[in-house]
Amino acid sequence: MTNPGGGDAADSAVATQLRKGVLEYCVLALLRDGPRYGVELLQELGRFPTLATSQGTIYPLLSRLRRAGLADTFLRDSASGPSRRYYTLTDAGRAALQEFAVLWPAFRETVDHVLDPGENP
């Protein structure tokens, strides 16, 4: 992907607004294959510049997912450093992710179509 908005496009108000709606489902998706601890999760997220946001802001999001019953946490000792708080998907979290995965393609196509009706009839 090119970055026509310039170097700080990832920080623009539009990018922030867009991220707000999808970031939590991306986080749920990253937990789909098994529990991860915070730092690990953030490293994974960091691989996608489009989703990039300052790392510390993910923790309030994770806290909300936990309080909403979409994710659960447990502590596990680590060979080095502090014991790690692992996040794992609950059944409700899996269901929410599934719902998003079903809606997303239609959503994406609709937006593409509205933006460029000729290209995407």
Binding site: G38, G56, T57, Y59, L61, S63, G69, S80, G81, R85
Partner: protein
């Protein structure tokens, strides 16, 4: 004895987060600060820079804090995510609603006053469901349909089967099928409310 959390740079950073989140509840602040503390320690440990506590590298700490982001942004995120969850109702209140949903149909068979009792139970149950903030709109609709469905399903099934002759077994089967729908509604409502309560009761 020394941990990265005792480093002055980290201390100043966490103090700033603490200051900017003063308007949030203690529980949520404590959780956030614990998360950030663990993040800083874990990141340094994962990079192998925190083995010897004495030579914690200030440059490494700066990098971790930079990647965590500005305390203002983190405080803003906490405020944003802090919008209240729907408050779960007490187990007792939920139980009464669920019981009314389950009992409305069986009450119809009480001699004489049955239909009146059943109808009253159904009306009260629906009222309690729709005024409770703990269920989503979708859940309320689903429960309403399941509760009212027997009114259509049972007569329709009886009508469809009547040419074949209504044996007592068939009547019982139709009644059981009709009864199962409100019971399903009750079970779904109870499960959803239980989940919300569990999520609300979970410690920080």
């Amino acid at each position: 004895m020394n941990t990265p959390l005792e480093h002055p740079l980290v201390g100043a950073y966490l103090d700033e987060v603490r200051r900017l989140t003063a308007d949030q509840t203690d529980e949520r602040r404590r959780e956030l600060l614990a998360d950030l503390g663990e993040h800083i320690e874990a990141t340094l440990a994962d990079r192998g820079t925190a083995d010897a506590a004495d030579d914690i590298d200030a440059a490494a700490i700066r990098t971790v804090l930079e990647q965590l982001g500005r305390p203002q942004d983190i405080a803003a995120a906490l405020a944003e995510e802090g919008r209240p969850q729907p408050e779960p109702q007490s187990p007792g209140r939920t139980a009464v609603t669920v019981a009314l949903v389950a009992l409305a149909l069986p009450l119809f068979v009480v001699p004489a006053v049955g239909p009146l009792l059943g109808l009253a139970a159904a009306v009260v149950a629906l009222r309690r469901i729709w005024t409770a903030p703990q269920w989503t709109r979708g859940e309320k609709k689903q429960a309403t349909w399941l509760l009212l469905a027997p009114l259509v399903v049972v007569p329709a099934a009886a009508f469809a089967l009547s040419p074949a002759g209504l044996s007592p077994v068939l009547v019982l089967a139709v009644a059981a099928a009709g009864l199962a729908l409100p019971l399903l509604a009750a079970a779904l409502l109870a499960r959803s409310a239980g989940r919300l309560r569990a999520a609300a009761a979970r410690p920080a």
